[in-house]
Symmetry: C2
Subunit: 232 residues, 2 copies
Amino acid sequence: MHVYNHRSNINLKRFVALKCSVYKSLRAIIKDADLYLICVSDAAIPGVVKQITDVVGSNLVLHTSGSTDLSVFHKLKINGGVLYPLQTFSMDAEVNWDTTPVLIEAIQPAMRRQLKNWALLFSKTIQYCNSKKRLAYHLNAVFVNNFVNALYSLSEIYCKTNNLNFRLLNPIIQSTVTKVNKYSPLKSQTGPAKRGDEVTMNKHLQLLKLQPIEKQIYLQLTELIKKQHGKL
Amino acid sequence: MHVYNHRSNINLKRFVALKCSVYKSLRAIIKDADLYLICVSDAAIPGVVKQITDVVGSNLVLHTSGSTDLSVFHKLKINGGVLYPLQTFSMDAEVNWDTTPVLIEAIQPAMRRQLKNWALLFSKTIQYCNSKKRLAYHLNAVFVNNFVNALYSLSEIYCKTNNLNFRLLNPIIQSTVTKVNKYSPLKSQTGPAKRGDEVTMNKHLQLLKLQPIEKQIYLQLTELIKKQHGKL
């Protein structure tokens, strides 16, 4: 496998360890690859596509972005496609690839089988999905991953500031996710907002009185729960 | 064990199955119990305390509320205390009690040992905690459980309305919680808000244009992430 990366020597070293050939310039890109995989930031995709168009010929070129339309390839008439893993990645956490859904899309229907076979190397859960739906999944991933994690961070900071032990919340965090993986979250909602328990909510708001953003988020999510349960 | 419950026959039947004696009136309450455990809604606690004061004598009476101050007992001069499991409960989900933190508090220091021994019947993780701190833990539980679940519900509803499969998000939901149980959520934050990727955020907001509350929550949580990462 050949890997091009002009930004980070550290990341290239990881690939060297995996016995890949690594390059720091796209100019060194080879012409006879079976597959070209573009794993760069969304904003950088069009530039990379442009640079490699003359080299890739009729071979498959895929990007891995949730929010970039397939049309990023269309204009340049290469055999573009998408291989988007609906998952969160970070350097220090293992990913269970078998269960990670991989959403795929190809410009040419004839490329679909080939694309599916590539995707099956990564995961057992493959789904065809157009750009519009993929963006919608990406939006939902922001809600259930980025925004959920922001609430965890809010709590982590609150605990640190108020001399509480954030780690005491691990079991309730775990229970919440265990439930959602089995049941409808809408049906298993609990808490003061769901019960309409204004006394408790006012006690909470009192604790947040010096934190305008956090207080606003408390009020807004309370309103969301009321709406979700027909109480608005 | 004697169980009093005036509201639900169904719940009483569960206790009968566990070989408890069940009663539908507090007037039938016995005088020689080792422990009186009040598990009612927060608003109902003062009334129950009042009703049982003459019966309980000097024996231990505990409530299990996260947001009710210990002073609910103080006025009535009974041996009050708190046994608050920092956990979420529902009829259909099993709870891992061993790891569930139980926050305890007693009016009389002399009762602390006895209270701790009772708490140890439930969990291995016992912590003394005053009412103010317990309320703060309760607030944090609302953020990491009730509000996180509300975001899951938002996504569940969005997926249903837009013909997406909510279950495809299970793996990313699971990864997010696996990470938070190991690492600092603040340090492992990812996503367009963290990156300052306005192009992607605008695409998302476009999808939410007909949902004012959801859009507002998107904007507010984006602002929170920017603040958490020094970008406001």
